[in-house]
Symmetry: C2
Subunit: 117 residues, 2 copies
DNA sequence: TTGACATATTCCTATATGGGTATATCATGC
DNA sequence: GCATGATATACCCATATAGGAATATGTCAA
């Protein structure tokens, strides 16, 4: 079997640095493709292809506006990544060093509160 | 050009779900390879290969203990992922939603006050 | 030394990638 | 309708993958 498709999930889509750059650029607001082309210094077809991958994993949405297509960030698609990686935060954060048990309790409470999304 | 190597950085290494599983398993503490083989139900060579990738990006460390090799999590390698993705947290977190709503209200009130004058 | 256990490496193959380049689609203004 | 601008798709290619299977390496025990 080959590697999983880049469109398999957000983890794979976001492994490509150019696609993270695109998302970072879109964090500033809705943008047409050519803006991204200029901002990233990539060829237009590559940007379109990256945007397609991001769209397929739900990380961006599109809207037609005349002859332009405005892309907009949909950060919710990145939540699974955050959810996974935040469990490891305590392994490098100084804050967690002395407060392990207490924070575990808090985290459990927080998760219970947030479980209704 | 092909896709970036899985060993290029933590983002690429962790895009593979089995490797995330391995890290999750190691979160419980140091483990020999065969423990992971049993826990994940994978063939031994694949586990060794995944561990090599994780080692190359610094996400795990090894230690020889007799004929076993004990692998241990090094979560710090995941910090760049956390750093990147946490910037997007406000896009789905309820806490931030409520803050946004409050700010919206304030802005609307402000505008209403100004138009009264 | 030999055999058994634990792990790593090698070789194979199908598959998808990302960039480059050319071209297709689609909307707009004349 | 036609030229132009904006974007998407198609095609080519070099490359690295993940799993499977076989084998190599290394360590211990008798």
């Amino acid at each position: 079997m080959a590697r999983a498709a880049t469109t398999a999930d957000a983890f794979n889509a976001v492994a490509e640095p150019r696609r993270r750059q695109i998302l970072d650029a879109l964090a500033g607001g809705e943008r047409p493709v050519n803006d991204l082309v200029r901002q990233l210094g990539l060829a237009q077809p590559q940007v379109s292809k990256h945007l397609r991958v991001l769209r397929e994993v739900g990380a961006v949405d599109v809207r037609d506006e005349g002859r332009q297509r405005l892309y907009r960030l949909n950060g919710r698609a990145l939540k699974p990544i955050h959810d996974w990686v935040k469990e490891y935060e305590r392994l490098w954060s100084d804050r967690f060093d002395r407060l392990d048990a207490v924070l575990e309790d808090l985290k459990e409470k927080e998760e219970a509160d947030e479980s209704d999304e």
